[in-house]
């Protein structure tokens, strides 16, 4: 069964749950996974996002999400002005992707500290989203859970070390995936958890040998 608050909800700024609320969440996810204040953003819109996105405020919604706004924030329509004040430069282009959901955006974002992120995500209905690619690696997660994104070296035992830290704190893993671009290359771990992962646990994991970078998305508060 769907969460009944996906039926009566979300509480959101209109006009479209997939084109507006979902777009805010996509922007927000990119901001979180970048791990810093975005300074530049190149945004590619695909399918219905490209065709009717502007009329639904998809462009403003994506930028609002990048600025950290939530889907029910009445400032969403003013996000371009906010971005100008806070020094975020952005551009929009349309793109035709293969095998992508009709409501898909690709966000290439950078903060001022040398971090960058490329994320492809889709708005899959009712304001729910799904991240499909991260830095050119196929992934699949939704933000419906607390989510750890860990980039690590391709060495044996790395995953066991990470999950051990979680189990010590009685943090249950709901879904998990492990992908690498090539043997010996960078590995991307996506771990969705039932419980929130406290900062101390995140620090312990981030300091494990072999972990290059950890970002964390905490699911929206009830």
């Amino acid at each position: 069964m769907l969460d009944i608050f996906d039926i009566l909800g979300p509480v959101m700024v209109g006009p479209s749950s997939s084109h507006t609320a979902g777009a805010v969440r996509i922007g927000n996810m990119a901001r979180t996974l970048l791990g810093g204040e975005p300074r530049t953003a190149r945004i590619l819109l695909h399918g219905s996002f490209a065709e009717t996105g502007r009329g639904h405020g998809t462009d403003r919604a994506l930028i609002a999400g990048l600025m950290g706004l939530k889907p029910d924030d009445l400032d969403i329509p003013n996000s371009f002005e906010m971005a100008a004040e806070r020094g975020l430069e952005f551009s929009f282009e349309t793109v035709s992707l293969r095998d992508a959901h009709p409501n898909t955006a690709v966000l290439e974002v950078e903060d001022g500290d040398g971090h960058s992120l490329k994320m492809q995500a889709a708005s899959i209905g009712g304001g729910r989203i799904r991240v499909d690619r991260l830095n050119d690696v196929d992934v699949q997660f939704t933000g419906a859970y607390n989510t750890l994104i860990i980039r690590s070296l391709d060495i044996s035992g790395e995953l066991a070390d990470v999950t051990r830290e979680l189990s010590r704190r009685k943090i249950n893993i709901a879904n998990m995936s492990l992908c690498r671009s090539k043997r010996g290359g960078a590995v991307l771990m996506v771990i969705e958890t039932d419980q929130a992962v406290p900062p101390v646990v995140r620090t312990l994991i981030a300091e494990l040998p072999g972990v290059a970078r950890l970002t964390y998305y905490e699911k929206e508060a009830e």
């Binding site: 509480v11 700024v13 006009p15 329509p77 009830e222």
Partner: protein, 291 residues
């Protein structure tokens, strides 16, 4: 968990609990939350519906400029006291318009089940509540009835215009509102089922044909038809009138009709009102403005 109306009826029978509480139990189980936490979230959802109506302003306009101000017109007209449909239905119409317009103008609303259909449920609940005969607590409880109905439709059919046309959005919202109203007035589970079935049947086949692809025309006014339909179906059910076709079969049928709707009639803006000369003209204007 709540995969059919029949299953809800059986749970009501087994547990002796009312409809709304069966849905509450399902939510507590699904999200692993306490009864209080679930009720509090539902209460906040109700307050968000109220706020959308309370903060309505007639001078706001949508992106295309086509939507705005009609909710106020309806209220002003009703205030003169000479409507055809009477005070209650006039208020239902006004709230449906105000909420739908607020959505189109990028204000805060509650998707129920979608943003495009956000005016239907508040239209009936807020109007009943403003009559002053129903405590807020009862309204919040009855929202579980609406949510349970929506969850079943979502599972057995669909609730997105892109998947099943407007019948999936306004039709589902209308069925949710009809069931909620019936419950609020003390209807039996069977009567709730009949109200849901009748509401959905009446809107079967309704296409999704938004002008320029925007949630504006004809979406806002279709919220009115969904709400008024819900009121009439709830009253019919409470009068003892039955849907000849069982409710789960009607829901299945809506999904089937939705799947067989040509893609032109499923939110693509390639058919229906979207391709009338006026609709095309709006689309061209929007494109010119964007480039």
């Amino acid at each position: 968990m709540l995969d059919s109306m029949e299953e809800i009826f059986q749970k009501i029978e087994q547990t002796g609990k009312p409809f709304w509480e069966v849905v509450l139990d399902a939510d507590m189980e699904e999200r692993q939350v306490t009864r209080e936490a679930s009720l509090e979230k539902m209460r906040r959802t109700w307050l968000a519906m109220l706020e959308a109506d309370d903060t309505y302003r007639a001078d706001r306009r949508s992106v295309s400029g086509l939507v705005g101000g009609d909710g106020r017109k309806m209220r002003d007209y009703a205030a003169e006291g000479d409507t055809i449909c009477g005070d209650f239905l006039s208020e239902v119409i006004a709230v449906a318009l105000c909420t739908g317009e607020s959505n189109a103008c990028m204000r805060k609303i509650v998707a129920a089940p979608t943003a495009g259909a956000c005016g239907v449920l508040p239209a009936v609940l807020i109007s009943i509540w403003r009559q002053g005969r129903t405590p807020e607590e009862e309204i919040v409880k009855t929202m579980y009835v609406a949510a349970g109905i929506g969850a079943v439709v979502s599972y057995r059919a669909c609730i997105a215009g892109a998947a099943g046309g407007c019948q999936a959005e306004i039709g589902t919202a209308s069925a949710m509102a009809a069931g909620a109203l019936t419950a609020l007035r003390g209807g039996t589970p069977e009567q709730i089922g009949h109200a849901v079935a009748m509401a959905l049947k009446n809107l079967l086949g309704l296409i999704c044909d938004p002008v320029a692809g925007l949630v504006e025309v004809p979406c806002v006014k279709r919220n009115v038809v969904g709400a008024v339909n819900a009121v009439s179906c709830a009253d019919m059910a409470l009068a003892g009138i039955k849907s000849r076709i069982p409710v789960d079969q009607v829901i299945e049928c809506m999904g089937d009709v939705g799947r067989r709707l040509p893609v032109e009639f499923r939110e693509t803006a390639l058919g229906g009102l979207a391709v009338t000369p006026f609709g095309q003209q709006v689309k061209e204007q929007m494109e010119k403005r964007d480039s």
